[in-house]
């Protein structure tokens, strides 16, 4: 007896079980740390000094998030409503900082040697340029929910200014949630603090881990930081209501930007200006020291040593993320309750510090029997740890594609006696293949930006390119570091253009 295509449309216990299993697996590595935290009473005395530093970090990141929020909404609306030549390429370029380790961006800013941009101001700057593309994407996605009738009505009522004012109000909840998510992600990113010499919460955790050799204290601090990130995000969700989550998880209409003589020109000029600040400043900071005869042999040596590993980590992480994300999307689809619960959980998982799960994997590898080394002490550990953190990206992309499939198709398949397998092969896979591919490539790129997991879990002799840059940057000539950084930046841009090629996936 074949299973009906309609089973994909019906509720069932398997949705709850499947979704819970994926979320539980993603959070499982944190269990040893939580247990340690509970066992020792959380080291409350030692954490007292950590709290002001955590507050300072939050303040710095929130400042960066606010800058990104303001600029991101403006730019996002410009790109939503006005067409201009090169808009697609500019949008892809805006995404570049998301695909680069923030350490490299901070390095570029540091090499730029403007005194104002070192220290805390530099931290705000890096947070802003990494969070900006997230806010922009959220704004574009949310504004696509506005119908052309609504836009026309706003235009008739008060021209372009009225449209932008109302649209800004409409997209604000989504943009705010995304800005705070970016803030939380940057909170656990050690790179900018290292490069710019700022004392922040994550650097304190590294001190506890690297200098004081106190895993227990590091775990307590890490959990406190995770708590702060969760609180920030939950507050944002409470303020914004359900709209941002709905925007994320349901299929939206598409934007219809149109040409407007003044506004299109303004959109183009403002995009270029922001792009200069976002990419131009760090890139120039890297280009200036890179102008020298390149040490081709050393560059090739680093790339050949790390190239295969970079590929393995990227494909492995992307495979783990795409598989679990696609499964999660199937479990969440067609059930508003599951969609809400799943989206909230996934956002929280995505915002947790990468260090949390990586430390958990490390602890589990130590107490587990040797036959588990394949999971805990190999490249697979890195791929699983990163993949189970990044799975919300493909999950949301696939979920939005699945939402675009009307229920009537499944009914038609049922009436025609088409089996579930055939329905999936002929209807569902063609619909989701674009988003799956886009999710795969985006997670592959994102995984390269996460150095923390690699630092803690990479097996001996298996560095990837960003980690190699990090380990040689202390004493290698500045020109070599800058040249490697630039090569990485160029690769990220090329890959982004490739992703842009999968337009079907990106549009959803």
């Amino acid at each position: 007896m074949s299973v009906s295509a309609l089973s994909l449309e019906r509720p069932g216990w398997w949705r709850t079980a499947g979704l819970s299993a994926i979320i539980f697996t993603a959070l499982l590595p944190a269990v040893p740390l939580v247990a340690e935290f509970v066992k020792t009473g959380g080291r409350l005395d030692a954490l007292q000094g950590f709290i002001p530093i955590l507050a300072k970090s939050l303040a710095l990141n929130l400042a960066g998030g606010t800058v990104a929020l303001v600029i991101g909404i403006c730019l996002g609306l410009m790109h939503s409503f006005y067409s201009f030549s090169g808009a697609k390429i500019i949008r892809m370029l805006f995404l570049t900082p998301l695909c680069m380790p923030p350490l490299l961006l901070a390095q570029g800013i540091r090499y730029f040697e403007i005194k104002f941009l070192t220290g805390p101001a530099g931290m705000v700057y890096v947070t802003a340029i990494v969070t900006l593309p997230l806010v922009m994407l959220a704004t574009i996605t949310a504004s696509s929910l506005l119908s052309s009738g609504q836009c026309l009505a706003a235009r008739l009522a008060g021209g372009e200014r009225c449209l932008l004012r109302y649209a800004a109000r409409f997209v604000f909840p989504s943009a705010l949630t995304t800005a705070l998510m970016g803030t939380c992600i940057m909170l656990s990113c050690p790179g900018p603090a290292m490069a710019l010499g700022v004392k922040v919460a994550i650097s304190e955790i590294l001190i506890s881990f690297s200098a004081l050799y106190d895993l227990n204290l590091a775990a307590s601090q890490c959990l406190l930081m995770s708590g702060a990130a969760l609180l920030t995000l939950l507050t944002a969700l409470a303020i914004s209501g359900k709209q941002p989550l709905q925007n994320l998880s349901v299929s939206t209409g598409s934007n219809h930007p149109r040409y407007h003589p003044q506004m299109s020109r303004l959109a183009f000029i403002s995009s270029l200006a922001v792009l200069v600040l976002q990419l131009g400043v760090p890139a120039t900071g890297l280009i200036v020291p890179a102008i020298s005869v390149p040490d081709v042999a050393e560059i090739m040596n680093v790339i050949s040593r790390t190239g295969a590993n970079s590929l393995v980590y990227a494909t492995g992480t992307a495979s783990a993320a795409t598989l679990s994300g696609t499964a999660a999307a199937f479990f969440m689809n067609k059930s508003a309750r599951h969609r809400y619960f799943g989206t909230v959980s996934m956002l929280l998982i995505f915002s947790l510090p990468a260090t949390l799960t990586a430390l958990g994997y490390s602890a589990a590898g130590t107490i587990s029997p040797p036959w588990t080394d394949f999971i805990f002490r190999s490249r697979a550990a890195v791929c699983l740890s990163q993949g189970l953190r990044l799975f919300p990206i493909p999950a949301l992309l696939v979920l939005r594609a699945l939402n675009s499939v009307p229920s009537s198709w499944a009914w038609a398949a049922e009436m025609q006696g088409i089996s579930l397998g055939r329905y999936i092969a002929k209807i569902i896979i063609p619909v989701i293949s674009g988003p799956v591919m886009a999710g795969f490539l985006v997670t592959a790129l994102f995984s390269q930006a996460d150095i923390s997991t690699l630092l803690l879990l990479h097996p001996p002799g298996s560095q990837n390119l960003p980690l190699a840059i990090l380990t040689i940057m202390a004493n290698a000539p500045r020109a070599l570091i800058a040249q490697l950084d630039l090569i990485y930046m160029a690769l990220a841009i090329v890959l982004l253009m490739v992703i842009g090629h999968f337009r079907r996936g990106m549009n959803t």
């Binding site: 000094g49 040697e113 290292m194 490069a195 010499g197 004392k199 650097s203 590294l206 001190i207 881990f209 690297s210 200098a211 004081l212 050799y213 895993l215 295969a308 590993n309 590929l311 393995v312 494909t315 492995g316 992307a318 495979s319 490390s362 602890a363 590898g365 130590t366 107490i367 040797p370 394949f374 002490r377 190999s378 490249r379 697979a380 791929c383 092969a425 896979i429 063609p430 293949s433 674009g434 799956v436 591919m437 795969f440 630092l455 803690l456 990479h458 097996p459 001996p460 002799g461 298996s462 190699a468 990090l470 380990t471 040689i472 940057m473 202390a474 004493n475 290698a476 000539p477 500045r478």
Partner: protein, 342 residues
């Protein structure tokens, strides 16, 4: 069409992962954790691979970037070690491993000719090539005045707000802090650190940052290592250096150490690697490299840019005791001092 493409793409990815996660188990290998900078340690590992046919799996760490906490990784893995050898950039981490029961004694036949005073008498670590802690200064700023002669000059009102050092919780600066506690006594060392802070001294991220800030003129003097001085020379920066305290406590040496890990999965290969590390060839390589390290053997020529070790007054410290001192001040005075002043 899309379906077929997806299937082909998935199969290719699966094969790439499968291939990537498999190791080549036929070649003998040794896993080396090292806190020596990647650009200095990797050529040595490569030369060993060429000579012995043993594959070296290197895990590098730079204390300057406060990265992996390699020592902590060794401690965490102690029940079932992954590493065979720890090539430490300083003897203090080696002493900590001994105290924690993570290292095993090994008296290498290659250690012949190396002075015994820098190594553990029980063979838990053997020292070879060394760096020195030096004062770096901006030549332009000191063109009309005498360069400083002692680390205590960093607290002089003459250099108010113009001196810097790396975060003393990390790397060689932490070892230097512990050495000052031993050489000056706790009262004298605390006085030095407090005076440094009161004089507007800056704490920067790493020894490399010290070099950069002094070269740019943001600070005019600081404390760093000889390898950073050599990088500054190679980059043509306008900086000079002084071996400090030649009339008093002497200059601190920071030798490399080879440590065999207890329960090493590849013990024979590990011993061969340690034998190689302690050979005169490696001391020569490290002296000639950008690391510009001083050979501990007196019959091997040192780096050209520095005077021979025999001409430098060396600070007398007990490295075993230094580990205890370091752990004590890390949790106490030093952590509080850094918290208060950074």
């Amino acid at each position: 069409m899309i379906f077929k493409r997806t299937i082909i793409f998935s199969v290719l990815c699966f094969e790439a992962i499968l291939f990537g996660c498999q190791g080549n188990n036929t070649q003998p290998e040794v896993v080396v954790y090292t806190s020596v900078d990647d650009i200095f340690s990797r050529p040595v590992a490569k030369r060993f691979e060429e000579q012995s046919g043993i594959k070296v799996r290197l895990v590098t760490d730079t204390e300057e970037t406060k990265s992996t906490g390699l020592l902590n990784r060794l401690i965490a893995e102690s029940a079932r070690p992954v590493a065979d050898v720890f090539w430490s950039g300083d003897p203090v981490r080696a002493a900590i491993l001994k105290k924690r029961g993570i290292s095993a004694p090994y008296h290498s036949p290659s250690a012949k000719g190396l002075p015994e005073e820098f190594s553990d008498p029980e063979g838990y670590w053997t020292a070879f090539s060394t760096r020195a802690r030096v004062i770096i200064f901006n030549k332009l700023a000191f063109s009309y005045r005498k360069p400083p002669a002692s680390v205590r000059d960093l607290t002089s009102p003459e250099y108010k707000g113009m001196a810097c050092m790396a975060n003393p919780l990390f790397g060689t600066t932490s070892m230097h802090a512990a050495a000052l506690f031993q050489a000056l006594g706790p009262v004298g060392a605390k006085q030095f650190f407090n005076d440094f802070a009161a004089n507007g001294g800056k704490i920067v991220g790493s020894n490399g940052d010290v070099k950069d800030k002094v070269a740019s003129g943001e600070c005019i003097l600081g404390i760093t290592d000889t390898d950073d001085i050599n990088v500054a020379m190679k980059e043509g920066l306008d900086t000079g250096f002084v071996f400090p305290d030649q009339d008093t406590i002497g200059t601190l040496l920071v030798p490399n150490c080879a440590v065999l890990i207890k329960g090493a999965p590849h013990e024979n290969e590990a011993k061969k690697f340690i034998d190689y590390l302690l050979s005169p060839e490696v001391e020569e390589m490290l002296a000639a490299s950008t690391a510009a390290q001083f050979p501990l053997r007196d019959n091997i020529p040192g780096p050209e840019q520095f005077p021979p070790l025999s001409d430098i007054k060396i600070m007398q410290v007990d490295y075993n005791l230094l580990a205890d001192t370091l752990q004590k001040i890390m949790d106490g005075f030093l952590k509080e001092w850094v918290d208060a002043n950074s």
